[in-house]
């Protein structure tokens, strides 16, 4: 199939960006979206032009590196997908496809479609862990954990940190990311010990880094490639408010 690509090009964080349009022919149906971009880049390089920079690595939906705003949606128009998992069979011959980087002041553009998501690491550093040193743990079966809690922990820990939730949110809120982490760790007796402190410090860091507030539009949930539920945000709010009342 033949497609037209409108891609955001920006040399670096300081320069001004603009859309460039490219015509790409002979795109195969069973290509992945990023293979289509590889194909475009090969063509650009051969014609003496700069290839489009984009983050990617595992190409199987688990490392969380990739993230392109495609036709107005993070990771494109498919259910529960990362950009790398998106396939060209979802597009039609003659389509125009618009590609933009994540849009959030907290994720500044590095180049073209690459953004700086280190703010997520900073939030995790603020408390997204259980404080246990190597060698201190008891036998793994010493503390039984109800299957339901283990399943909730799994679902929330399947967050790949891609940032689609922030990109989807009109307030660029990182609430789903933070709520997933605190919900994950609170499922375990070991994780409950620091639960209140964790919430307070992670939320404070999120605010400090300029992410917006949650207004329950559920856009994050709709675009999360791992299907993390907005109910985690409700849980976070409940614990956050009760912690603040005690303060």
């Amino acid at each position: 199939m033949n497609i037209k690509l409108k891609i955001w090009r920006q040399k670096n964080a300081k320069s001004k960006g603009r859309f460039e349009t490219y015509q790409l022919n002979d795109v195969a149906e069973d290509m992945s979206f990023l293979e289509m971009l590889d194909y475009l880049n090969g063509t650009l390089i051969k014609n003496g032009k700069e290839p489009v920079a984009f983050d990617h690595d595992c190409r199987e939906g688990i490392c969380g590196s990739c993230g392109i705003y495609i036709n107005g949606r993070p990771h494109g128009n498919d259910h529960r997908t990362t950009t790398c998992e998106l396939r060209m069979r979802l597009f039609k011959d003659g389509d125009t496809v618009t590609l933009e980087p994540w849009r959030s002041a907290s994720f500044p553009v590095v180049k073209d479609l690459v953004v700086d998501r280190s703010a997520f690491d900073k939030i995790t550093n603020a408390g997204g862990y259980i404080s246990v040193n190597a060698g201190a743990a008891q036998d793994a079966n010493a503390i039984p954990v109800p299957k339901h809690n283990a399943d909730v922990a799994f679902d929330t820990a399947s967050c790949v940190g891609c940032g689609a939730c922030v990109a989807a949110c009109k307030n660029a809120s990182a609430m789903l990311f933070v709520a997933a982490k605190v919900t994950h760790l609170a499922q375990f007796p070991q994780g409950r010990i620091e639960a209140v402190e964790r919430i307070k410090s992670m939320v404070a860091k999120m605010d400090e880094l300029g992410f917006g507030s949650c207004t329950n539009t559920r856009a994050c949930e709709a675009e999360c490639p791992k299907g993390i539920s907005i109910s985690t945000i409700a849980k976070l709010n409940r614990e956050f408010i009760s912690a603040k009342i005690k303060d």
Binding site: M31, Y39, R80, V110, D121, A134, A137, A140, V145
Partner: protein, 639 residues
Amino acid sequence: MSKLDAKIPEGPLADKWTNHKAKLHLVNPANRKKIDIIVVGTGLAGSSAASTLGELGYNVKVFCYQDSPRRAHSVAAQGGINAAKNYKNDNDSVYRLFYDMIKGGDYRAREANVYRAAEVSNLVIDHYTALGVPFARDYGGYIDNRSFGGVQVSRTFYAKGQTGQQCMIGAYSALSRQISKGTVTMYPRREMMDLVVIDGKARGIVVRNLITGEIERHSAHAVVLATGGYGTIYYLSTLALNSNGSAAWKAFKKGAYFANPSFVQIHPTSIPVLNDHQCKLTLMSESLRNDGRVWVPKQKGDTRKPNDIPEDERDYYLERRYPAFGNLVPRDVASRAAKERCDAGYGVGPTGLSVYLDFKDAINKKGRQVIEDSYGNLFDMYHKITGESPYETPMRIYPAGHYTMGGLWIDYNLMTTVPGLFAIGEANFSDHGANRLGASSLMQTSGDGYFILPYTIADYLADEIKTPKIATNLPQFDEAEKNARERINKFLSINGTETATSFHKRLGKIMWDYCGMVRNEEGLKKALTLINELKEEFWKNLKVPGTGEELNQELEKAGRVADFMELGKLLVYDALNRKESCGAHFREESQTDTGEAKRNDEQYSYVAAWEFNGDGNEPQLHKEELKFEFVKLQERSYK
């Protein structure tokens, strides 16, 4: 004195590590903060080592090429992590785990190292559980286990088909805690350009900041490489696209021996190649073989849809050939068996290069929900890529380049032949012999980082407590930086017509055709010629756009491919030298009457450790004899 002193402790197998630990020197807590350690890579090996060394109070610097340490390729491991807990009461033990690995590795691994990996496996599970890794549990709240290829017990801990991601998040969280405490400094988006060796000791690295292009110098009292494997040398592999062998290669060129480079695992269950633009093969976890049955039609070139082929016209060839292990034979055996059927004309799919992995019987027996709970995410992944649902149509699978058992040679203390340079996880060679068993990778890599390296590195550092901070303005740093700059400028100045990716693809095809699942002398010699020609062309006709002072992904690729051209030759030299078949290394000249790998223990029961001998020269072979004191060498049979 030979550099190949493996330092394996004397004494009974089960006491070796305990006795060795008792003799290792320590660094007292007050001295640790004066000692700098560099860790390169943040997968399960790098993150676990860095966080643990941070907890102990060392001053740690960690580097990764990704934008966040959480994205290292350990994240993509699917099936599970082994441990000898015996939670299933099926008579598992440390010894049995050890024995399975030694046999699974086709008797080409060190007994003492393998036993130790099995010994610390239980601690690894305890630690991950405490960190909040949600291993699958039953309704009583206890942890569940499943079975994996090459074993007859259920010792694999898992988190659906996402065990790597879940363990990685645990390891990353522990690392984050140390970063927040200031014991660890994180340097993401950095690529190691060179190792700096001063007076014979590893003293630092030179890295390129991938965003600014700046070349940075970092010094330390010891350097730990946790940079993973080099399976992307085949271009099409199950690895992340940016995974590479460059750090290990730079270490090799600075004097670290490279062991068994040709031992590469070809994973049997990957989604087959769909088109010519494909750059990556997606793995379908080995755990699927617990419930999936592998088959091809009995009739050559059968074009009927799989569900239209009646039961008695299907050849469940693994169950037929290997009744004792059936669909759960080890990876190398399963891969070759698939290749054998496809080469004989029984393969399915548009290219004839795939076989079926069928869940129909399991769904009928256990119900769809149980299968969904175990493998749901893998089925979804498969569906997205191929457009077919494995609940309804059998999966199509084919082998793909996956894991490298070979790597930097290390002694029992995980130290390379360069003093002060350590290698852990997939980057080293020691624990998997000629073939790795499923779910042993997460186990070994985490064991190295949490419970082995932190002890053994102290033994080295105990002599370094009086060494002041290493200056970064020493001539060795000047030279490393100069070399890195010259190389970058060279890439940018060739200005040819072909991209790095295109060269990589061509190299990958040579490696796959002649140094892949099967090898022979003629093909390997041909590969050497072809690689030499390709390398020459690469340095004349490479095209890298842009500059070195910015984010330049083409420049990154060029460096990695340039190293792969050289590393590829080392793989071929190693495969040529080893005129026996063992594990994943299958020399056509050495097979049994039934087409199984035929070892030659008299001549090849050794680790081949290669020494760099100058650019353009053949590397020098050193042999570390493998002594089997506790296990009797046998033909490795899964029948």
